[in-house]
């Protein structure tokens, strides 16, 4: 069965430090991959997406992610975090062909806490 795993429920980072949030997927074939962010009491917003090609994709607000087929991973990174990055981050995957509907499977989310 297809699945997305985010092994860290909570990550704490000091402001200005670098960040990596981990994501592993289990899919037959190579899925499309996404990172979404949820700020407190809001809906989810798309940070970045990977379809194919260059394994490193850039997103908004300085975030990037790297796809690894050998490791079945899609980790999110940021070089220097800001207090406003505090949020819950969701990794998601979709089969490459779903007849037009985006059947996203979400991970359980990682809560990012930024310490001053």
């Amino acid at each position: 069965a297809q699945s997305v795993t985010q092994p860290d429920a909570r990550v704490t980072v000091s402001e200005g430090a670098s960040l990596q949030l981990r994501c592993k997927y289990s899919y037959s074939g190579t899925p499309y991959l996404f990172w979404y962010v949820q700020y407190q009491r809001q809906g989810l917003q798309l940070l970045l997406k990977y379809y194919s090609g260059d394994p490193v994709v850039q997103g908004v607000n300085g975030f990037e992610a790297e796809f690894s087929k050998s490791d079945s991973s899609f980790h999110l990174r940021k070089a220097s975090v800001h207090w406003s990055d505090s949020a819950v981050y969701f990794c998601a995957a979709s089969p490459a062909y779903t007849g037009g509907a985006d059947r996203l499977t979400f991970g359980k989310g990682t809560q990012l806490i930024i310490q001053p």
Binding site: G43, L44, A92, Y97, A101, D102, G109
Partner: protein
């Protein structure tokens, strides 16, 4: 700016009662979705729609119905609400075609007593 609006934002219901959660989008997207979000589970897809008049079952449809009377509106219906349906529900719209980009509403918190 893409906009997805949900109502009500908060709802308290009694066990066995009927609950309707409404969603309106001004994006002119064909596809709409209902998810529930629970601690330890992330987001799970309940129902989705390809357009007016269409509804499809997602991964956890049991106990829920959906209705898409128009391009703009998509409702989630709990005919006989149970405490296990206490959750935060999110509506989303999207262009489909595997873009993966969904636009979410701000959520509806449902408590079933």
């Amino acid at each position: 700016e893409a906009a997805v609006t949900q109502s009500p934002r908060n709802k308290v219901a009694v066990t066995g009662g009927k609950v309707t959660l409404s969603c309106n989008q001004t994006n002119n997207h064909n596809n709409m979705y209902w998810y529930r979000q629970d601690t330890g589970h992330g987001l799970r897809l309940i129902h989705y729609s390809y357009g007016a008049g269409s509804t499809e079952k997602g991964d956890i449809p049991d106990g829920y119905k959906a209705s898409r009377p128009s391009q703009e509106n998509f409702s989630l219906i709990l005919e006989l609400a149970t405490p296990s349906q206490t959750s935060v529900y999110f509506c989303a719209s999207g262009l489909g075609a595997n873009t993966g980009q969904l636009y979410f509403g701000e959520g509806s918190k449902l408590t079933v007593l």
